[in-house]
Symmetry: C2
Subunit: 471 residues, 2 copies
């Protein structure tokens, strides 16, 4: 359409909207006939048809075949606005997710688990989106194959080859997200009452997810070089767990890295106790240089690799993956068809594959790692001036796992933070044993605004006089 | 980039690809330095950098910071091809899904449950995709709000207002698909060992999904005007089911429509036995005129409405929704965060909202309904000449539930059909009681190619001499 026609269509739409707003047209009432309103407005009938169709698509009016257009019911859907996150809910493993996902634009989010939108490779994504507009009809509208788009699976096979993992076509399944990947694995391997080991502290949503599976969750203390292996061995002997779920590359929330010796010993223990391990590799692309990977050492025998593209490419284009033994993948395909019908969105997989194949992605990652180093230094210094000190300084990523000054309770501080416009991530949401009440996870990429520190200082004052709430 | 620069970059990439193909460069070997190769190729160093970056993005080569570019490992991921669907697997409720989702392009799919890609509103979707390229960074890369994009929720509120359902902002949740919507509800309401009623026949994936939930599935015979209410009442009294899952608008696979009297009596029975009902409204937009809806009669008290956009807009852009009581939605949000982190893809929801708001969608639906009427008439006539007769002729949609000629077993015919290049949907995959062995579901939109009928005739001949396999 030319701009002129667009303008005339918009004028007709505005005229009808005005009639609705001033109640010159009421719910259920018939709209002027197309011919009559075209004369009234001095436009062609086809312009009125276009305008009515668009208003109908918005739901303001409805077409009744053979009878014309009528004003829709009395509900005013324009009044539909976002519900505020409930501030008073318990600070449990879902608390940070709900607060940070649903936070309004006025909130600052040093507790959230992702990068600011303007740190992401938006130009490459826009190029991929423009490429998608040229894709065939089947990509745009059909269900995809059950294992997910071949273009993205090929990329993942190459990437894992670089780690020394030789993947067959039957060992890879795309999913709707990294979380859904773990969920599918849980549905396949776990039964209610089974025991699962996680790190203590660990990513809070591992706990939220495992609770849905009604399993017993055992935490093993995490050290700067991986899980405490004496405690791990004791947990294996005592609880006979079915599964261990952990982050590789950069541990969440600590930012720690598994050492090669610990990786090897962990796999030896796992083999002795027939333990399956889910290795969540979601932070891989934030690493400055590669660290040991359980899947690479094990060759995808008892280790299942999962990952996604949410942390360095896009969390809006939802897509994750599972690499595992062929017989397990075959079963997971059935499970994914039964519970989601088909695999992940072909459109999403094409967008991800397109952005990854864009020559700029490597440069984006290099720039991102430099930017994160700077942000980490700055945040460490500014938190230090508030008496907040990192447990370790991670070699990459955006998390900083910090000890609060004596007397500060992280949950109380998180509640006080909300009143100051800050979404924080208090330590015990990460801790199965609830022993991290004086820790807080910070996201250095979300702390470049000085108001974060001003708000934090005020919240620390306020939290001192609050009762220490149970986490 | 100009075309010329693109051409030079491509030339450098081809030169490297050729070296790899003829093994002039082997896995692990260092690539020529950027400066040297620029001189060799007679291009600028930046052109070589661009080409190397693109090859690295494809995974063929890898950058090692400070050391240059190296050939990736020995795996040849270009060899990764699609696995054929396993033809010998049991004909169970997952059989049709796996065969039709993974069928190669040479297969005809009169048994699949969706429209051909060129029957979908591709132009409107392309416009929405181009619109997405202009969206803000947050839409492209951020996690979305937990209930899903406001634009699409507003559309759904308006649409339901047109049915007389007044939805609050806290009664609607977007999901990753219609199937995932039912799965979430199942995880919320069902416990292993609970009983669930489905129609007999019903959409086969209801059974596959409910089996994942480890519930007992009871089928109630479906009549041309809804479930057999005497049998339904008896099932309520005998089994005390927790849930009833059904299609509204156009029943799958029969294409039948619930009558107003049966809708009312069904809700009365449900109230007397405290039964919750999931009403899957996925075929709503294929209806020629509206039919009774349980959610509208009940006002979302004990009825949960779910739906998606897969049948009339796009199955590739995965998105579904749940409308229900506010307290249930609040719990479902937590469940969705725990198991998928966040709601559906904001990018997907924006694309769906964009295509729905496109003025052309109503015309697309009208044209689609006319096209389906023609296809239904033609398929009915041609199937008739093979002795295959519809149970009823539906007033809309694409399914035709047909009785096979005497002596034909649907499962045997489906197996014989694969050899003829046809994916068929044999009756018993839809039937809990396994009493539909002489029925077949056809999709009239997938039967405009005359080869379907030729293949069907040959398969019917072949199936006669096969042993009737158990379904």
């Amino acid at each position: 359409m030319t701009d002129e026609i667009v303008g005339r269509t918009a004028a007709v739409m505005t005229a009808i909207r005005t009639k609705l707003a001033v109640r010159a047209l009421s719910p259920g009432e018939k709209l002027p006939s197309i011919r009559r309103f075209a004369t009234t407005m001095g436009v062609s009938p086809s312009t009125v048809v276009e305008a009515y169709d668009r208003l109908a698509a918005e739901g303001l009016i409805r077409a009744r075949p053979g009878a014309g257009f009528f004003v829709s019911g009395a509900v005013s859907p324009l009044a539909l606005t976002e519900a505020e996150p409930q501030r008073e809910r318990a600070i449990d493993p879902l608390w940070v997710s709900r607060q940070s996902l649903d936070a309004g634009p006025e909130m600052l989010k040093p507790g959230c688990g992702w990068l600011p939108a303007d740190w992401m490779p938006n130009a490459a994504i826009r190029r991929a989106v423009r490429g998608l507009a040229q894709a065939g009809d089947a990509v745009l509208t059909d269900y995809g194959v059950t294992r997910g788009a071949l273009s993205l699976r090929r990329h993942l096979v190459r990437r894992m080859a670089g780690e020394g993992i030789e993947l067959g076509a039957d060992q890879l399944l795309l999913t709707a997200s990294g979380t859904q990947a773990i969920d599918l694995i849980g549905r396949f391997l776990l039964r209610p009452g089974d025991t699962v080991i996680v790190d203590d502290p660990c990513y809070f949503n591992f706990q939220a997810l495992l609770r849905v599976h009604a399993v017993r969750i055992i935490g093993v203390p995490y050290t700067p070089t991986g899980p405490d292996l004496a405690a791990f061995a004791a947990a294996l002997a005592e609880h006979r767990p079915r599964l261990y779920v952990t982050n590789s590359a950069l541990h969440n929330p600590t930012g720690a890295t598994l050492s090669p010796q610990n990786a090897h010993r962990l796999l030896t223990l796992a083999a002795a106790h027939d333990l399956t391990i889910v290795e969540d590799d979601i932070f891989a692309d934030l690493e400055p240089e590669p660290s040991p990977r359980l899947a690479a050492l094990d060759g995808l025998n008892r280790v299942i690799r999962i990952g996604s593209f949410s942390k360095t490419l896009s969390a809006s284009i939802r897509c994750g993956f599972i690499a595992a033994r062929p017989d397990w993948i075959e079963a997971l395909v059935d499970l994914q068809v039964a519970t989601s019908f088909g695999g992940p969105s072909p459109v999403a997989a094409e967008l991800i594959a397109g952005a990854l194949a864009d020559g700029s992605y490597r440069k984006h990652l290099e720039a991102l790692r430099r930017r994160l180093s700077r942000a980490r230094r700055e945040a460490t210094a500014r938190l230090g001036s508030l008496g907040i000190t990192p447990w370790i300084v991670p070699r990459g990523g955006f998390t900083l796992w910090c000890r609060l000054p004596d007397g500060q309770d992280a949950a109380a501080l998180a509640r006080a933070g909300l009143a100051e416009g800050l979404v924080l991530a208090p330590g015990n949401v990460f801790s199965v044993s609830q022993t991290a009440g004086s820790f807080m996870r910070f996201n250095v990429a979300q702390m470049t605004d000085p108001r974060v520190y001003d708000g934090l200082a005020r919240a620390m004052e306020a939290a001192k006089i609050l009762p220490a709430s149970s986490p």
